[in-house]
Amino acid sequence: MLAPADIQDSPDLARMRRDRYARAQAQLAAHDLDGLLLVGESNVEYVTGARVLTADAGRAAMFRTVAYVARDDPFPHVFAAYPDGLPPELPADHIHPAVYPEFGARPVAEIIRGERAIGLDEYTAAMRRELHGSGLVDFVDATPIMVAARICKTVDELRCIRMAQHINEQAMLDVQAALRPGVRQTDLSGLFLRRIFELGATGNAVDPIWQVMPARMADGPWTIHGDVAFPTATTDAILRDGDVVWVDTGITFNGYASDFGRTWLVSAPPGPPRPTGVQRDQFARWRAVVEAVLDRVKPGSTGGDLTRAARSVLPADARTPWLGHFYLVHGVGADSAEMPLVGTDLGPAFDESIVLAPGMVLVLEPVIWDDGASGYRSEEIVAVTEGGWVPLSDHPYWPFGS
C-alpha cells in the first residue's frame, strides 16, 4: 500500500525506465502488434528516457528524437537528436543517427521493413511517403495504446512528479514574496524561472501564467462559450494593488511535469493582503469542492462520481465549479495534461467510462466564480492508491485560510 513517505524518496531512474518499457511491451503483446513507431515527444520520452534540449515547438519538431519499439526487443531503437541525452544502458546497436521527420524517415523505414502491423502516434507528409515505401500501408493509431501504458504510474514516476511539484512550489515561495504593486508579470516569470533551475528543474514546460482576473467576465476577454477566459498569455503588464491573480505554472523534472495553481492577491506595503469576506467564502467553497471530490477518490470510482461530488456541495443552481473549456480533473505525467480527463465536453458518458485505478495521478482544479466579484482557483495533485489517495502537492493557500 503506497504511503506518502514512499513518494518523498528519490526516484530510481534506471528502474523507472525498465518498468515503463515493460509496460510498452505489454501493450504491444495485448494488441498483437509487431512494433511501435513513436514520434510524439512525450511518448518517446516515456519509452526511451532520452533527454532532449527544452525548446519551442519549431526547434522541437525539426530536431526530434524518434523511437521504434520492436516486440520482445529488450531495448528501444532510438534515432537521437541529442546523443548526450541518451540513458547509459542503451546498447550501441540500438542508437542511430538523428532522422528529420520534416524531411523523411528512411532509416526508420529500413528498420521496420517486413513488419506486419505497427502502431504510429503521428506523422509528417514526408514520413508518410517514405514509410509507405517500406511496404506498410496503414498504421494502427498508437495514441490509445500509449495512453493505456502511461495512465497508471509506477512509484518512481510518482516520485518524479512529486519532485517536479516540490521544485515548482519552493520557487513560488520566493515569487509570492516579490508580489507587490508595480511588479510586471514578466518580472515574476524571470524570478520563477531563475529559481526553478537553482532548485533542480530539468526544464520549464509552459510560459508562467499570472493572470489578473476581472471582477466581471464582461471586463475580461470575450469568450466563445461565455465562461471565464483563462489562461491568457503573460505580457509585461503591471500588477496593481488589489489585483486578484490566478497563477498557473508547469515545469519538468526528469521528463515529468508539475502543475501549480493558486490564487494570490496583490497588496501595497505594508501588506499583508487581506481577502474580503466574499473572497474568503469563495475559497471556502473551493475547499468544499476539493474535499468532496477527494472523498470519492479511490479505485473503482468513476469520473462521474467525481463530477457529482463536486456539484453536491453547492446549490443546485450554482455555476459549474470548473472552467467550461477545461475540466474538473486531469491527469499529469510526461505531459502536463493527459488522461484521465474528467468534466470535459467529451460529456457525462465519457466521465462514467473513466474508472480510477491505483497509480493514476489526478490534478483537481475546481473554479469558483461569482460574476461581479471575481473568483477563486487553485490546483491540488493526488495519486490514487489501493485505499484512496496520497497527496503529491503541498503548498500553503496564503493569504487564504489553511
Binding site: 515527444e41 533527454r51 534540449l53 527544452t54 519551442d56 526544464g203 509552459v206 469568450t223 480527463l341
Partner: protein
C-alpha cells in the same frame, strides 16, 4: 537599423515594427503559396505556422504537442480561422467570427473545421502535420477532400523574410545577446550548468520577453573534446571550457547565437585565461592555452569560409564543401539551418543532409560551426545571418557579441 528601433517598448510616433503590415504581408504570402501548390484549404497544427499565418499571441509551451487543428486558411474566401476560446491576443482582422473553440472531442474539432465555409467542399486540403485519428475524422466530415502535404507550401511561404520580419529578428538577436551576457557574467566555479538556463530566462524576462527559442546549450566540454547539448547538473570548475548557445523569441521570431567561453575564478573568463592555466588544467577539455587558441583560430578560418559561402544560389553541398575545404571535418551538428518563427528548413550537415538546398537573398540562417579535438577541447560558435543582406550578395551577420577569453589571445 536605426538605434531607436532596437527595443521592446512602445514609441509614440511610430511602431518599431508595423505588425499590421507584417500580418497582412504574411497573409498574402500564405494565399499565394496555396495558389502555387493548388491547395483549397490549409489546416495548420504547427504553432509556428499558426502564429505566422494569424499573428495571434498564444501561450508558449515547450516541445511538440499532439496534433490539433490550430488554424485553417481557405483560399477562395482568403479567410483565416483560429482555434481560440477567447479573443485576447487575436488580431482584429480575424475577429471573433474567425474563431472556433477548444474541444477535447476530436470529432467535435474535426466538425468545427468542416463547418468553416469552403472546407467541406474543398477538393485539396493541405495539412502541415497529422495524426492517424485526425486524418480519418477529417475524411469522415469532409469526404470530398484529398489530404496532401501542407508543410512544404508553408515552408516556401516563410522562406524569404520581409523587412518587418528582419526587424523582429534583429530585436530577437539583441534580446538573446542580453541573455548571453548574463550567462557569461554568471560563470564561476560552483555554478551548475542548468542554473545558467535560469540566468538566461531571468535576463530576457527583464526585457519583457519570456519565450525562449531554446533553453540553451550550456555545457562544459569534456576531456574527450565532445560537445554536449543538454545542460545537466555538472558543476563548473575554474578553467572549464563551456559552450553557451541560447535563443529567444520576439513576436515569435528566433534570435540565436553561440559562444565558447572559459570559466574564470570570478566570472567572465578573463582571469582564467590570462593567468595561464597550464596544459590539461581546469579539469575540462582545455589542453592548455595554446591548444584552445589553436582551435579557435581553426574555427575562425572555417567559419569565415562558411559565412562567405552564404550567398544567393549557393547550395547545401557548396556550404559543406566550404567548411571541409579548410581541412576541418564536418561536425555532427548541422552547419546551417533556417530561422524565422523558429527553426525552418533548410538544414545542412552530415550524411548529405540538405545538399540540394539552394540559398536565396532574404533567407535568414543560423550558421554554426564546431571544431573539436579529443584531449584538447572544442570550439563552437553560432551566428544569425541574413543572406544577401549586404549589397544583395554578401551575408549580413545580425548577431553581435565578442569572444572574450578566446579572442584575446588570438
Amino acid at each position: 537599423m536605426i538605434g531607436s528601433s532596437l527595443g521592446v517598448a512602445a514609441l509614440e510616433e511610430a511602431s518599431r515594427v508595423d505588425f499590421a503590415r507584417l500580418r497582412s504581408s504574411r497573409h498574402s504570402r500564405c494565399l499565394a503559396a496555396m495558389e502555387e501548390a493548388g491547395l483549397d484549404v490549409l489546416i495548420l497544427g504547427r504553432p509556428g505556422n499558426v502564429h505566422w499565418v494569424s499573428g495571434a499571441r498564444s501561450l508558449w509551451t515547450a516541445g511538440v504537442r499532439a496534433f490539433g487543428p490550430g488554424a485553417v486558411v481557405v483560399r477562395s474566401t482568403g479567410s483565416i480561422h483560429l482555434l481560440s476560446v477567447w479573443d485576447e491576443g487575436v488580431p482584429a482582422s480575424i475577429g471573433r467570427e474567425g474563431l472556433y473553440g477548444l474541444s477535447w472531442n476530436p470529432l467535435t474539432l474535426a466538425s468545427s473545421v468542416a463547418a468553416i465555409p469552403g472546407v467541406a467542399d474543398a477538393a485539396t486540403v493541405g495539412g502541415d502535420a497529422m495524426s492517424p485519428l485526425f486524418a480519418s475524422l477529417l475524411t469522415a466530415v469532409a469526404p470530398r477532400a484529398r489530404l496532401v502535404d501542407g508543410a512544404g507550401p508553408m515552408w516556401a511561404a516563410r522562406r524569404t523574410k520581409s523587412a518587418d520580419e528582419v526587424a523582429c529578428l534583429r530585436i530577437a538577436c539583441a534580446i538573446t545577446e542580453a541573455g548571453l551576457e548574463a550567462m557569461v557574467s554568471a560563470l564561476r566555479p560552483g555554478v551548475r550548468e542548468r542554473e545558467l538556463v535560469g540566468v538566461f530566462d531571468e535576463r530576457i524576462a527583464s526585457l519583457g520577453v519570456t519565450t525562449p527559442a531554446l533553453e540553451g546549450i550550456c555545457c562544459v566540454v569534456g576531456a574527450d573534446g565532445q560537445m554536449r547539448q543538454v545542460p545537466g547538473d555538472r558543476i563548473l570548475a575554474a578553467g572549464d571550457v563551456i559552450v553557451l548557445s541560447p535563443g529567444a523569441l520576439y513576436a515569435g521570431y528566433e534570435g540565436g547565437l553561440g559562444r565558447t567561453w572559459i570559466v574564470g575564478e570570478d566570472g567572465r573568463g578573463g582571469d582564467g585565461w590570462s593567468r595561464g592555466r597550464g596544459s590539461g588544467g581546469g579539469g575540462s577539455g582545455g589542453g592548455g592555452n595554446t591548444g584552445l587558441s589553436d582551435l579557435y583560430r581553426r574555427w575562425r578560418v572555417a567559419f569565415d569560409r562558411l559565412l562567405g559561402t552564404c550567398r544567393p544560389e549557393e547550395t547545401g553541398a557548396n556550404l559543406v564543401g566550404a567548411w571541409t575545404s579548410t581541412g576541418e571535418r564536418l561536425p555532427s551538428i548541422p552547419l546551417i539551418h533556417g530561422v524565422g518563427v523558429g527553426v525552418e528548413p533548410p538544414v545542412v550537415g552530415l550524411a548529405r543532409l540538405g545538399e540540394d538546398a539552394v540559398l536565396e537573398a532574404g533567407m535568414v540562417l543560423a550558421v554554426q560551426g564546431l571544431v573539436s579535438e579529443p584531449g584538447m577541447g572544442a570550439v563552437f560558435g553560432k551566428e544569425t545571418v541574413l543572406v544577401g543582406g549586404i549589397g544583395g550578395d554578401q551575408a549580413e551577420v545580425l548577431t553581435r557579441f565578442g569572444w572574450g577569453p578566446l579572442a584575446s589571445k588570438s
